[in-house]
Structure formats: structure tokens, C-alpha cells
Amino acid sequence: MVVNKISNSSWIDKISGDKSRWFKANKLEKNGRLEEAVRLYIEEAEEKRQVSPGISGLCYLSAAKILIKMKGREKAEPIFRKAAESYEEYAEKALSSSPSSAIWGYKMASKCYAWAGEYLKSEEMMKTAESLSEKIEGGGKGYPLFRIFRTGGNKRKDGKSPNAM
């Protein structure tokens, strides 16, 4: 689609211009200052690791993405490992309140471990996600909070659609 680019320099930038590290890293990345952006993403990821492992995983993943561009996959592997660990921690934390979030977390961890070259760990994460998924999908009576709406493709054993109560 051809759309004229919307102006970036306006008063609205002032009010949305935040001081957060994530925001700064984003801007640096867009301006091509990649080394600085990686540093900020990693700092942010480390700071958020305890309180918010999901965000930490996201920051590591952003850093890994830039490292791949800059230095190739090998250099990015340790950061992918850290991202995987963060996503795994996120999944464990989310498990009690939202199993569907935990499933997603384990799947993300699996992908990141694979990119870190840790294939066994990646497989283990995927198995955990799948077994959890089976427990939820096969759990009899529907539970909207924990269920992802899917098309009629994967029918339940009783022949009803997966979301049928």
C-alpha cells in the first residue's frame, strides 16, 4: 500500500517521548545506533528479570535480533539463551493464573532455546507446552478464560467443537 509517510516531528512526540530505557533503545535502533541499542535492551532485560520476566524476554529477544544483524547468529546465541530462560520463568509464573499464557511462554522459550542451539532444552519446553495444552483442551467443560478460540478443525473426542460448553 502506498501511503505518504506521516510526519514524526510534532508536539505529540513531546508528550509521548518517554524516558524509559526500552523507549530509548527503540529510538536508537531506529536511528541505526545498534551497539547502544543492544546495551540498553540488555540492561532493561536484566533489570526486569525478577519483576517481569515476560518483558525481560522481550528485551533479550530485541537485543538478539540486532546482534544477528550485526554479528551473525553465533554471537546472538547467549542472548537467545537468556531470552529463553526469561520466557520459561514467565511461563512458570503465569501457570497458576492463566495456563494459556503459560503455554505461550513455554513455546517462546522453546523457539529461543532452538536459536541458542540448545535443541534438547527446546524440545523439552515444547513437550511441556503440548502436555499442558492437551490438559486444557481435553478438560471436559469449557473454560473461556483458559481457552483459545479455534476453528472447527480440531474437534473434541465427543465430536463437539473445542469451544462448545
Partner: protein, 489 residues
């Protein structure tokens, strides 16, 4: 966060949802873009510290776009005004307005064409004068060509087309604002407030989410002016359909609050793999059974709803006429703000004509709904349309039996732990209420079970965690896409 007629300036279910979500997602920072009806509105909520800014976009009540905001500079206004003339409007604005109208009047044949027109109009209107544009000859020529001269809509009344053009000029105000930088945009409706989300998605590849409470399209149909002809209605219906469809098309995820919405969304062209139901959750520590000494021993029927046609208050009043014949001591307390003054007057007239002045009381809005619920013998929800109503699960959490109409996600919420009646039937509603009033033991047991059920299914933690994950999911997905593309290249 993109809102329309809700947070933080109006109270109601969607505002409560927005406030709960923002207050609990402390690890995210929010900027609120609120489409409203007036420029200077009092905030109805204390904003949590992670709200970094608010932009109120009033569609009515301002002569010049942005005149109500602090950053408004006369110099900018003058610049925009001087750079706007008939030739520019004709060349740079009219082609996109023509495309927009063509898509709008046909209910969106091509969402990409519609979105492109919206973006182009946004680009033009942020650099030029909105007022001058909608007063130009070129603007009205296009209205003539696309509407008056249209083979179908040409049959609409002159006054109606002029009204429609007025609505259009107000919508264009929304496109005249610059929107803030964000990592993702989240709209609380597939409505006009979603247009900034679509623009940001196209311009900056910002992931876009929609949470749908009541189905916007359905609610607009219910709210159509009753005096208009079929053709006139079609024009508005098609405009709403177009806006909803373009929202669905550009959303990365559509998050209905109940399964009821899914069928509508599918029917309106939403792709199924984007849809995920996330039910509302409530604070079960706040909404719990509380012992309250009420002034008398009358059986209280509590309703928590704003005074609006969609809430079915008229029906409730009719039902109360029936109920009070068998239970003269029953009293109905309606808590909620007035959003439609005409409707309130009509309700009051009806109450007077039925001699129910001391039996149906408008209590106004309350900051302590948990206390209001706990005054009740039974809580009633008489709506004609709902998404996934907080009032039902809050009342259930307070251990109260609920009688509710079968609309939207209500029956999903109640799931057998309350009484469901068909909407628009005052007789059925009265019967449902009397069923609970006549058997105290039954009512108490229903309330106890309802609370247990809510504790199991509609907790805050699950609700918040699901949104936290969806935000992470769309952001992570965007990064993955870049990684994969980079690797391929």
C-alpha cells in the same frame, strides 16, 4: 489505549474494564487516546501512575481542531489555514474522501482501499485546516456526487444527507490529530476510535489489538434512528459495517469478552485465527458478601446500569408493575449514571403512570457498587445488549442471586448459576424475579453457588495475565518476523 465515549471521562462497564486493565498491568505504560463528545470533561477515574498521558479528541464542542489542548499554537493553526485552499483540497484530499465514501456506502468492499483513504485523509488533515476543508466547495461537491446523485442513496431525505455529512465532518476531526508513538495500540471497540490504531499499523507497523465488549456493529444497529427510511438506515449501517470491517482487517488480534461476540465477528469478516476470547475478571476481595443493615425489611431488587435505551430500564419498570402486585413490599433500586436524559424522562413518566414512584427509585451513580449489591435480595440485569457484563459477575461474587436477560455473554457468565430470561419481555422478567422472591432458601443457595463459581472462573489474575501475554505475544511476534526475514535475506 484507544477509547470511545468511555475511559476516563465516563463511567460504565468498558471504563471499568479499561481502568482495571491499566491499573493492573503495571509493567506497561499507557497513553490514552479518548474519543469523546466534548472538549472539557471531568475525569471520572483517578489515573494510575502508569498512564503517561491522555489525549481527549472531542468530536463536538470545538470550532477548531486541537483548540482545547495546551499544546495548541496559533502559529501552527495559521500555517495550516494558509496552506489550505480549494485547489489543494481538490487535488490532495478529495480523491481519498471519494474512495472513503465509496467504501463506506457499500459497507467496505476492499478494506485496504478504505484504510488507504483513511491514512491519506489523516496525512492531509494533520497538515491542513479541517474547518476550511469541510466547508470547501470541493467537499460539498463530493457529497453531491457520491450521495445526492447516487442511484440508491439519492432517495434519502435532503436533511438526512446533510446530517450524515455533519457526522462525516466530525469523524474527520478524529483524523486531524497526530497520534503518539507506541509499541502497540489497543482499542476497546471495533469502532471509530480504532482508526488511529489502523493508521499506526499501516504507517509504523505498530501491532493493533481490539477488545470487543458489546459488538459495536450490533449496538449501532439497535441504536439506529427509528424515524429514518430503509435507505437512510442502510447508509448508516454500511458506514458502521465499513468501519468495523476495516478494524477487523488490520487487527493483529481480536479479543471478544465472550463467545457470543465471535459469531458476529466471523460474520463481519474477522479472520478466525485472530480471535481469542478473554473474559472479564473481577476483584473477588472487593466484591464479596458483606453484612449491611438496610433501613427496612423490604425485598430489594438492585439494578446496576446506566440509564440508557440499551439497558432495558423500561422493560424493568413494566416488570416491576407485575412484581409489585404479588410482592407489594418489593422495591427496585437502579444505580447508574444517566447517559440519555430523554430516556430517563420517559422512564419517569412510565413510573408515574404505573404508580410505582415509591417502588422504582433512581439512585444515581455509586462509587461503592459492592455495597449496593449487598443491599439486594436479588440483582437484576434487564439489558437489550451486553458484552460480558461486570454487573452480573460482580453481583454473583457478592453471593447474590441474579436474574438477567439472555443477551451477549450473559448466559456464558451465569452458566446456570442464576435465572436467565428472554430480552424485551417484561412478563418473563417479572416471572424470573418472582421465582427468586418466592423462595428464600433457593435464592440463598443460588447466591452461594454463584460466588463459588465466580471464584473459580472470573478472577482478576487470569484476566490480567491473559492480556499481559497477548501484549507480549504480538510484540514478540513482530520481533520474530524481523529475525526470520533477516535470516532469509
Amino acid at each position: 489505549m484507544l477509547c470511545e465515549g468511555t475511559y476516563p471521562f465516563y463511567r460504565g462497564g468498558v471504563s471499568t474494564w479499561t481502568h482495571n486493565l491499566i491499573s493492573n498491568l503495571k509493567d506497561y505504560e499507557f497513553f490514552i487516546l479518548s474519543v469523546t463528545s466534548a472538549p472539557f470533561l471531568r475525569r471520572r477515574y483517578n489515573l494510575p501512575p502508569n498512564v503517561k498521558g491522555i489525549l481527549n479528541i472531542p468530536l463536538w464542542g470545538t470550532e477548531f481542531v486541537k483548540e482545547h489542548i495546551q499544546e495548541f499554537k496559533f502559529r501552527d493553526f495559521l500555517g495550516r489555514n494558509l496552506s489550505t485552499d480549494e485547489r489543494k483540497i481538490q487535488e490532495e484530499f478529495i480523491p481519498s474522501l471519494r474512495a472513503f465514501l465509496d467504501e463506506a456506502k457499500h459497507g467496505c468492499k476492499d478494506p485496504r482501499r478504505l484504510a488507504e483513504a483513511i491514512c491519506e485523509m489523516h496525512v492531509f488533515l494533520t497538515r491542513h485546516d479541517h474547518r476550511k476543508t469541510v466547508r470547501s466547495k470541493a467537499f460539498w461537491n463530493i457529497i453531491q456526487e457520491e450521495l445526492f446523485d447516487d442511484r440508491l442513496y439519492g432517495y434519502a431525505r435532503l436533511s438526512y444527507i446533510i446530517d450524515f455529512s455533519r457526522i462525516l465532518s466530525h469523524i474527520l476531526q478524529l483524523l486531524s490529530y497526530e497520534y503518539p508513538y507506541a509499541d502497540l495500540s489497543h482499542s476497546s471497540a471495533a469502532a471509530f476510535c480504532g482508526l488511529p490504531g489502523i493508521i499506526l499499523k499501516i504507517d509504523r507497523d505498530t501491532p493493533y489489538l481490539i477488545t470487543e465488549h458489546g459488538v459495536y456493529f450490533r449496538e449501532r444497529i439497535l441504536d439506529l434512528p427509528s424515524k429514518s427510511s430503509i435507505i437512510e438506515r442502510m447508509l448508516l449501517i454500511n458506514l458502521y459495517r465499513a468501519i468495523v470491517q476495516v478494524n477487523y482487517y488490520y487487527a493483529d488480534k481480536i479479543l471478544p469478552v465472550c463467545k457470543f461476540n465471535v459469531d458476529w465477528e466471523r460474520e463481519l469478516g474477522a479472520s478466525e485465527e485472530k480471535i481469542e476470547v478473554i473474559c472479564n475478571g473481577i476483584d473477588v476481595e472487593r466484591f464479596k458478601p458483606i453484612k449491611i443493615d438496610v433501613e427496612d425489611n423490604r425485598k430489594r431488587i438492585v439494578v446496576m446500569a446506566r440509564i440508557d435505551k440499551l439497558k432495558g430500564i423500561m422493560n424493568l419498570i413494566d416488570a416491576m408493575a407485575n412484581v409489585s402486585k404479588r410482592y407489594p413490599e418489593a422495591i427496585c433500586e437502579i444505580y447508574g449514571p444517566v447517559s440519555d436524559k430523554q430516556y430517563l424522562k420517559a422512564c419517569q413518566r412510565k413510573i408515574k403512570s404505573l404508580n410505582l414512584e415509591d417502588k422504582v427509585l433512581f439512585m444515581g451513580p455509586t462509587d461503592k457498587p459492592e455495597l449496593a449489591y449487598n443491599r439486594a435480595y436479588v440483582v437484576v440485569q434487564p439489558s437489550l445488549s451486553e458484552g460480558f457484563p461486570f454487573t452480573v459477575i460482580e453481583a454473583m461474587a457478592c453471593g447474590k442471586p441474579v436474574v438477567a436477560t439472555d443477551v451477549g455473554g450473559v448466559s456464558e457468565a451465569i452458566d446456570g448459576f442464576g435465572v436467565i430470561v428472554p430480552p424485551r419481555s417484561s412478563a418473563a422478567l417479572a416471572e424470573g424475579i418472582m421465582k427468586v422472591l418466592e423462595n428464600e432458601e433457593y435464592a440463598e443457595e443460588m447466591g452461594r453457588r454463584a460466588r463459588r463459581y465466580v471464584l473459580k472462573r472470573f478472577t482478576y489474575e487470569g484476566f490480567i495475565e491473559n492480556y499481559r501475554r497477548v501484549y507480549l505475544e504480538v510484540l514478540s511476534e513482530k520481533i520474530w518476523k524481523e529475525i526470520i526475514e533477516w535470516q532469509r535475506s
